[in-house]
């Protein structure tokens, strides 16, 4: 094993002086249908184990599958969004293998007649566009979930036996396979990540899946190979399985580039193998040797008749596609008057959707951006959570900006209001009321505070009257302090001027 797991990794910069990477991605998306692919069982996530099964998805003898129309439609729409050719004739095939999470002894998938072929997706990294060719988009079914008992928890190693939950077995799964992606050089890890990010956004925009990587509704297998610079042939690739976050996609490619370079440098040979990614260390380790495609003994599924998407129906689906993320970014950038860099910041901060929703809820684009990229990004960072997981909704942020705009609160009070919202005290308006955060008007309390400040600093008053108007700032500060920031600074200044200068 010393040849596959070297002691030392090669620095990425160094890797690129001698080798060129080629990457490829296989992405599985669990479709957001109500029922399974070939039976009526519910697909609700998190249900009690084995409560969503039936003779079809358990593979009991005599049961017959019927394909889910919505799943077929989602798959075609994903294909269309990726610029694919939609097959006029497509079939399911049996992929035969024995594993406890696959009750039928085969997975119903597609083989040589997938629904969609030959598409592409352009992704941008650091201002440069990379075209990712899509080889195919096909429809299949998910497997059950194994729980390995005994030995190390959750891993197969040392397990005595396994426990299987078939709730997930038969949930429609779309597999999107890229062609090998050469020419990305040092950007290979980022291109891989950008591709999955963009794909996720497209599927989300289509409403085809909730694409939650942490729940496994979007999973990636990442292929990586290295070839000596200038070589006409590509190197042997490894396939890193089940990489389950965007960050991990990037890390998996980076690790494999560094590991393979070390193996090749030492005169070794990269094995064509499946590898597992380890979130904790960011490394990969060898998995079971991949059974060759022919080992799956694919053959056309006799229990399901062919799909023959009607050209007119496909055209209707194409016409009905929503605005896709790339087009939307171009439009918003123009509408909001942003530079390309500003737009890239928004996208990289995963804030585009949040800002869009905040603007839709009535905030100005500038204010919405300011809050999400500033105060809220800071808080998410401090709390170690994703921006979108903060306990504040775009609608609440819009309400906050409205309260600032109409003078009810100032920026400092707005931050305190946000504390309350994040603490679950309700909407901004409720928090302002409950915590008494509204900016003071020209109330008796404020008049008293202003007069006390004047009375308490006769020397300052003298200076101001002597022409040093800037000295007034000290009095403003004193009033803000006694009112604990609740007064409006401009109002305070005007009231002070009226009494000190204007009288």
């Amino acid at each position: 094993m010393t040849t596959t797991t070297p002691d030392r990794l090669v620095d990425l910069d160094e890797v690129l002086t001698r080798y060129e990477p080629v990457i490829g991605l296989e992405t599985h998306v669990e479709l957001g249908t109500v029922s399974k692919m070939f039976c009526g069982c519910s697909t609700t996530f998190g249900a009690e184990p084995n409560t969503q099964t039936c003779p079809v998805c358990l593979g009991l003898p005599g049961s017959l599958p019927v394909a889910n129309a919505a799943a077929v439609e989602h798959t075609i729409r994903i294909g269309l969004a990726l610029g694919c050719r939609i097959a006029s004739w497509s079939r399911f095939a049996r992929k035969n293998y024995f594993y406890p999470d696959i009750p039928k002894g085969f997975q119903t998938s597609q083989y040589d007649e997938p629904l969609c072929t030959a598409g592409h997706l352009d992704v941008e990294v650091d201002g440069e566009t990379y075209r990712v060719e899509i080889e195919r988009v096909h429809l299949e079914e998910d497997t059950g979930k194994n729980l390995h008992v005994g030995g190390a928890t959750g891993r197969i190693h040392g397990a005595d036996h396994s426990l299987v939950d078939f709730n997930r077995a038969g949930i429609p799964l779309v597999e999107i396979v890229t062609r090998p992606i050469p020419g990305t050089g040092a950007k290979a890890p980022e291109v891989a990540r950008a591709y999955v990010t963009e794909l996720r956004e497209i599927v989300q925009a289509l409403g085809a899946s909730d694409v939650r990587m942490e729940q496994g509704s979007l999973r990636c297998d990442v292929n990586t190979s290295l070839a000596p610079t200038g070589s006409l042939e590509w190197g042997t690739r490894t396939e890193t399985k089940n990489v389950n976050s965007l960050r991990s996609v990037e890390r998996a490619v980076r690790y494999e580039m560094r590991r393979q370079a070390a193996v090749l440098d030492a005169g070794g040979r990269v094995l064509q193998e499946t590898r597992h990614f380890h979130e904790d260390t960011g490394s990969t380790s060898p998995g079971r040797s991949k059974e060759e495609a022919t080992d799956y003994r694919y053959f056309p599924e006799p229990d399901l008749v062919p799909l023959a998407p009607d050209a007119e129906e496909v055209e209707k689906l194409a016409a009905g596609l929503p605005e896709l993320p790339a087009a939307r970014r171009v439009r918003l950038q123009e509408e909001w008057g942003l530079s390309a860099t500003e737009m890239a910041w928004l996208v990289n901060a995963d804030a585009l959707g949040l800002v869009t929703d905040t603007v839709a809820a009535g905030a100005s684009p500038a204010e919405a951006r300011k809050w999400w990229l500033g105060e809220l990004a800071r808080r998410a960072n401090d709390a170690g959570v994703e921006l979108g997981d903060l306990a504040v909704t775009p609608r609440q942020v819009a309400e906050l900006t409205a309260l600032v705009a109409d003078g009810t609160i100032n920026d400092q009070l707005a931050r305190q209001t946000l504390d309350g919202v994040l603490a679950g005290e309700g909407d901004p308006r409720q928090v302002v009321e409950a915590r008494g955060l509204a900016v003071m008007g020209e109330s008796d309390e404020l008049v008293a505070a202003v007069e006390a400040a004047i009375a308490g600093a006769p020397d300052v008053v003298e200076k101001v009257r002597g022409g040093k108007v800037a000295a007034l700032g000290a009095l403003v500060g004193a009033v803000m302090k006694t009112t604990r920031g609740k007064a409006d600074a401009a109002t305070v200044r005007r009231m002070l001027e009226e009494r000190v200068v204007g009288s």
Partner: protein, 104 residues
Amino acid sequence: MSTPSANEALGRDEIAHLARLSRLALTEEELDRFAGQLGAVLDAVAQVGKADVGDVAPTTHAVPLTNVLRADVATPSLPRDVVLAAAPAAEDDRFRVPRILGEE
């Protein structure tokens, strides 16, 4: 798809490989016996190859049907106790299966 063409003898190695894929433990004697038997079966099936099918499209379905689909509607599943009662072993509301051999 991996079935060797009939004019190619089915070797012991291939039988062993297929047995492994099928999770079947075969003895040496069985490998020899099945290699012979399966060879005979393939020879018999190979006679189909004599038919002139030059302009016949491959047929996988005898009925000229396409697009048999169901609406995406959830229907009741089986009760769990019924499902698990049919399993050889169950534990923690799940199917209990033997440890998977040959894994890392």
